[in-house]
Amino acid sequence: MKNEIAEANVSWLAVIIMLFGLLLLASYSNELLKQKVIGPGSSADLGFAADCRADELEEEQLSLEECQLMVSNVRIILISSPQWYRSYQLMLSSLGIAATLFSLVTAFGLINRQSPALRLTIVSTALLLIIDVAGFVAAVNIGPLLRAQYLWPLLLWICIHLCMLVAVIRFGQQSKMDN
């Protein structure tokens, strides 16, 4: 009975790692894309006015105000970001993608009952947690308009990875006791 419960935890854990891993991979990849696209010296930074043609507005189902605010939205990102923030985010997102891919591989290892998988899952989840905290600390030090967009999702990710880390550690302890 005890063994059945232990194995159920592995499948359950692997599904959770894959689900949150894929969501996080999408999130980090999008952040990388965001930092690549919105850079200093681009048209919004140079003060160009929004180009809001009537046909485009109709096609996108936008009001004129919304169209103009889209440029302001980019300006918020640029003005709220300190000089170091863009390169920091590019580095952190790349690290995040690598750590997430590592955690996805460990999920495969767990299901295939490969012996170091549990220890590697602890390492990958701890890595993800550290990257979340590094992102959170950086977000605390940016302008309030941008900070408001980042802090809450980052706090959610910290909680998710903390839960996963505790679950993997606890499961490892149970496994040792069973053996």
């Binding site: 059945e4 894309l33 965001k34």
Partner: protein, 188 residues
């Protein structure tokens, strides 16, 4: 770790390695396409000065076209097994799973095709992975662009709903430890 299985559930057959790999590739691509499309539509409308949308839209189309090829490949490999499952006696949960899988393939195909048609009618060119020019099948037409854009939007929302059902099913099987999850992780 123990090798004990739930004795009530039958042992399931392994899936071909390509199907397993395509499943996870599709999952990663679909999540990225949702996240990035929500974000890229908040970027300034395109003009000579504002080119913020250029890279995200090209990437979106590249991944979409690649996804279409992956979906067709995967569906052609799985169609026989799905039809066999659909014709065998099942409880309501198994029937729901088969319907969910079939609808996922259909909706993924509709999402990809409607996206391509919308892009084609918009007059914007597509270069697959910045290497191969994909010819526009149609002349520019705003009304048809809006129509296919709506089909793309609503089929994607429906896809998201089905994906949540699919994820719910995965968690259900994970907790039940019935072997259904294991076959999605086996590359042998």
């Amino acid at each position: 770790m123990s090798e004990t299985r739930n004795p009530v559930e039958p042992e399931r057959e392994n899936l071909p390695r390509l199907v397993v790999l395509l499943h996870w590739l599709l999952a990663a691509s679909v999540f990225f396409l949702f996240v990035s499309s929500w974000w890229m539509l908040s970027l300034p409308l395109p003009s000579a000065e504002f080119t913020y949308r250029e890279l995200p839209f090209q990437l979106h189309k590249n991944i979409g076209i690649t996804l279409f090829i992956a979906v067709i490949t995967m569906a052609s490999m799985r169609v026989r097994a799905l039809l066999r499952e659909a014709s065998s006696p099942q409880d309501w949960l198994q029937r729901l799973a088969v319907v969910d899988h079939i609808l996922l393939y259909i909706l993924l195909t509709i999402c990809c095709l409607s996206g391509y048609m919308s892009s084609s009618y918009s007059g914007w060119s597509t270069t697959l992975w910045w290497l191969v020019d994909i010819p526009s099948m149609t002349a520019e037409n705003d009304d048809l662009n809006i129509l296919f854009s709506d089909v793309h939007l609503w089929s994607c929302w429906a896809l998201l709903g089905l994906l949540l059902l699919h994820i719910g099913g995965a968690i259900y099987h994970g907790i039940g430890n019935d072997g259904a999850i294991d076959k999605m992780f086996r590359l042998r």
